[in-house]
C-alpha cells in the first residue's frame, strides 16, 4: 500500500477468485488488491488466466467462486456506474471496421452517454494524445498495427476513466510503437489514473508497473515491486554459462537453473562463480531481471508458456 490516506478503498479487490470452463480450471484461487493511482501488472505466459481475471473484473464473465470488488462494490451491483469509470483495452482488435478513426471515438463516446458537445472537444484531444490526428479521417482498415493499438487506447480514454484495464497493450508491435504507448501510459499514471495491465513482456512490466503480480497456471505465484521480486527470488546478478559446462567446473553451493542450452547461476557477487571457471571459458554476466524471477518461480520461461 502506497501510504495514501485517501486510498483507503482499493480500486480493485479480488478474493479467492476461481473460474472453471467445464473441466478447465482457468483461474484457481487468485487474490490481490489494486490501490488508486498505481500501475499493477499481471505477468504470466499465454494461458495463465490473465484475460479471464480481467473479464471477471469487468463483470463480462461470472466467477465460479470467490468475488471481485470494484470501487468497493460487486461489479454487477455497480452496473452502469462501474462501466462509466473504467476504460478497457482488450487484447484483440475490436475497433469498428465500418467507421473512420474519428467516428470510432465519437460513436464510442455515445455508448458512454456523452453529449455531442463534449465529444467534439475531447475526440481531437485524444487523437492528438495518441498521435493519430493526421489519420483522423482514415478508415480503420488502413491503419498499421501500432496505430490500431493507439486508437483502442484512445477509445478506452473517451469518458476519462479512473481505472484503465489493458490486456497485452503492446503484443505484436515493433519497438518504436511500443515505446510510444509506454510513454502515454506513464503520462496517464502521472495524471493519477489507476492502471491494470497484463503482459508477458518483462521489460514492459519492469518499466511501467509499481507492483507486479506473477501468475501461472491460474494461480498467483508472488507479488511485489519489480525490485522486491528480484531481491526475493533472484540475486543481483546472473552468470550464464553455455553448455556443455567447462570440465572441472564445480558448482557446489551455487544457486543454479538449467534452461536447456545453458545454466544460469544466481549470485550477488559474480566473481564467486567466475573464479571457479577455467581461463578462457565463455560466460556472460548481467543484472537479474523479472525473467529470472519468473524462471525461478515456475521453472519455465515466460515466453514459452502454453
Amino acid at each position: 500500500m502506497e501510504g495514501n490516506i485517501a486510498a483507503a478503498t482499493p480500486v480493485i479487490a479480488v478474493e479467492a477468485l476461481e473460474k472453471r470452463y467445464g473441466e478447465v480450471e482457468a483461474v484457481r484461487g487468485v487474490s490481490f488488491s489494486i490501490w488508486p493511482g498505481t500501475c499493477v501488472g499481471l505477468l504470466g505466459p499465454n494461458g495463465a488466466g490473465k484475460t479471464t481475471i480481467m473479464r471477471m473484473i469487468m463483470a463480462l464473465a461470472q466467477p465460479t467462486s470467490g468475488y471481485v470488488r470494484l470501487f468497493g462494490k460487486a461489479p454487477s451491483a455497480l452496473g452502469r456506474a462501474m462501466r462509466e469509470r473504467v476504460g478497457l483495452v482488450p487484447q484483440e482488435d475490436n475497433l469498428d471496421p465500418d467507421l473512420s478513426v474519428r467516428q470510432n471515438l465519437e460513436v464510442y463516446g455515445r455508448y458512454f452517454g456523452r453529449p455531442a458537445g463534449e465529444l467534439a472537444e475531447r475526440v481531437p484531444l485524444l487523437l492528438e494524445f495518441m498521435q493519430l490526428i493526421e489519420r483522423a479521417n482514415a478508415q480503420v482498415m488502413q491503419l498499421s498495427g501500432g496505430m490500431k493499438r493507439r486508437l483502442i487506447i484512445a477509445r478506452a480514454l473517451i469518458a476519462n476513466p479512473e481505472l484503465i484495464i489493458l490486456d497485452e497493450p503492446t503484443t505484436g508491435l515493433d519497438p518504436q510503437a511500443r515505446v510510444l504507448i509506454w510513454r502515454r501510459l506513464v503520462d496517464l499514471k502521472r495524471e493519477g489514473k489507476t492502471l491494470l495491465l497484463t503482459t508477458h513482456y518483462m521489460d514492459e512490466a519492469q518499466r511501467l508497473c509499481d507492483r507486479i503480480i506473477i501468475i501461472d497456471g491460474g494461480k498467483v505465484l508472488d507479488e511485489g515491486s519489480p525490485q522486491e521480486l528480484i531481491d526475493r527470488h533472484a540475486r543481483a546478478y546472473v552468470v550464464e554459462i553455455p553448455k556443455p559446462l567447462p570440465p572441472g567446473f564445480v558448482e557446489d553451493g551455487l544457486e543454479r537453473n538449467d534452461i536447456g542450452d545453458a545454466v544460469l547461476y544466481y549470485t550477488n557477487d559474480p566473481s564467486e562463480v567466475t573464479r571457479r571457471l577455467p581461463p578462457h571459458a565463455t560466460y556472460t554476466t548481467r543484472g537479474a531481471n523479472l525473467e529470472d524471477v519468473f524462471l525461478r518461480l515456475t521453472g519455465h520461461s515466460l515466453r514459452q508458456g502454453a
Binding site: 452502469r80 462501466r83 484483440e92 475497433l95 469498428d96 467507421l99 460513436v107 455508448y111
Partner: protein, 263 residues
C-alpha cells in the same frame, strides 16, 4: 436522428447503438434506396403482367390492390429479418463490435434493443419504398388506410427483427441462416397471403400460415390499404399476436445471448 419507434422504451444507450448502424448505412443510402425501389418495381412488373393478366379478382380485389399490401409486408419482413440475422451476426461474432460495446455502459438489453430497432427501421424503410412505388404504379385504394397501416407495419417489423435475433443468438456459424431463410422467410413469402389467398391452401398449410406472424400482419394491412371492411376485434387479435410474439422472441433471444456472452 432520434428514436426510430416511439413505442419501444428506447433510451440514449440503445439509441447510440441505433445511431452507429445508421451512421454506417448513411454511406450506402444511394444504392439502398435504388434497390429498395427497384425491387418492388420488378415484382410489380412481373406479377402485374404475368399473373395480373390471368387473374381478374382475388378476394374481391383486383390483383394489383391485392399484391401491393402483400409486398409492403414482405419488404418489411425481408429487410428486418436480414438485418437482425446476417448483419447482426457479423457485428456480434465476426467484427466483435458487440464485445467492444459491452465493455461500455451499454447493457446487453440496450444493445439488443438498438440492433432490433435498427433492423425494424430498415424494414420500415423498405416498406415505405413499396408504398412509394405503389402510390405511383397503383394498388393503393385507400391512402388514409396506408397511414393507419404504417404503425402496424412498424410493429410487424419489430416482430420480424426480434424473431431474427433469436436465430442470431443461437448461430454458431453462417449455416443456420440458410435454414432460417428456407423454413421461416420463404414460407412467409409463399403461404402468408402475400401473393395468394391463405384460404386457397390445404388446411395443414393454413395452420402453419396462421402461426407465421406475416399472415397476421397482412390480414390487417390489406383491408386498410384496399379500403375494405376490417373487423376491429379480429384486427386487435392480429396486432396482439404480433406484439406478443415480438416480446417473447426478444426475451428468449436476450436469455440466450446472456448465457452465451457472460457464461
Amino acid at each position: 436522428m432520434s428514436a426510430p419507434i416511439g413505442a419501444i422504451p428506447v433510451n440514449r444507450y440503445s439509441r447510440a447503438v441505433w445511431r452507429r448502424n445508421a451512421l454506417v448505412w448513411r454511406r450506402l443510402i444511394g444504392p439502398s434506396l435504388a434497390t429498395n425501389v427497384l425491387d418492388p418495381l420488378i415484382f410489380l412488373f412481373a406479377f402485374g403482367y404475368g399473373l395480373g393478366a390471368v387473374i381478374d379478382q382475388v378476394g374481391g380485389l383486383n390483383y394489383l390492390s391485392f399484391v401491393v399490401p402483400g409486398m409492403m409486408g414482405y419488404a418489411a419482413m425481408f429487410a428486418a429479418s436480414f438485418e437482425s440475422t446476417v448483419s447482426t451476426y457479423a457485428r456480434f461474432h465476426m467484427q466483435r463490435t458487440w464485445d467492444a460495446i459491452l465493455a461500455t455502459p451499454v447493457t446487453l438489453t440496450e444493445l439488443m434493443l438498438g440492433e432490433m430497432s435498427w433492423a425494424a427501421t430498415k424494414g420500415l424503410f423498405s416498406c415505405c419504398c413499396v408504398i412509394l412505388v405503389g402510390s405511383v404504379w397503383g394498388g393503393i385504394g385507400n391512402p388514409w388506410g396506408v397511414v393507419l397501416a404504417l404503425p402496424v407495419l412498424a410493429l410487424g417489423a419489430v416482430c420480424f427483427a426480434s424473431c431474427g435475433l433469436v436465430v442470431t443468438a443461437h448461430a454458431k456459424s453462417w449455416d443456420i441462416f440458410a435454414y432460417f431463410f428456407t423454413f421461416w422467410v420463404t414460407p412467409m413469402f409463399m403461404f402468408s397471403g402475400t401473393f395468394f389467398e391463405v384460404a386457397r391452401f390445404p388446411w395443414f398449410i393454413q395452420v402453419i400460415a396462421w402461426i407465421l406472424p406475416m399472415t397476421h400482419l397482412i390480414a390487417v394491412v390489406r383491408p386498410l390499404t384496399a379500403g375494405l371492411a376490417l373487423d376491429p376485434l379480429a384486427a386487435l387479435g392480429h396486432v396482439s399476436y404480433l406484439a406478443a410474439l415480438a416480446v417473447a422472441a426478444f426475451c428468449f433471444a436476450r436469455l440466450k445471448f446472456g448465457a452465451r456472452l457472460f457464461g
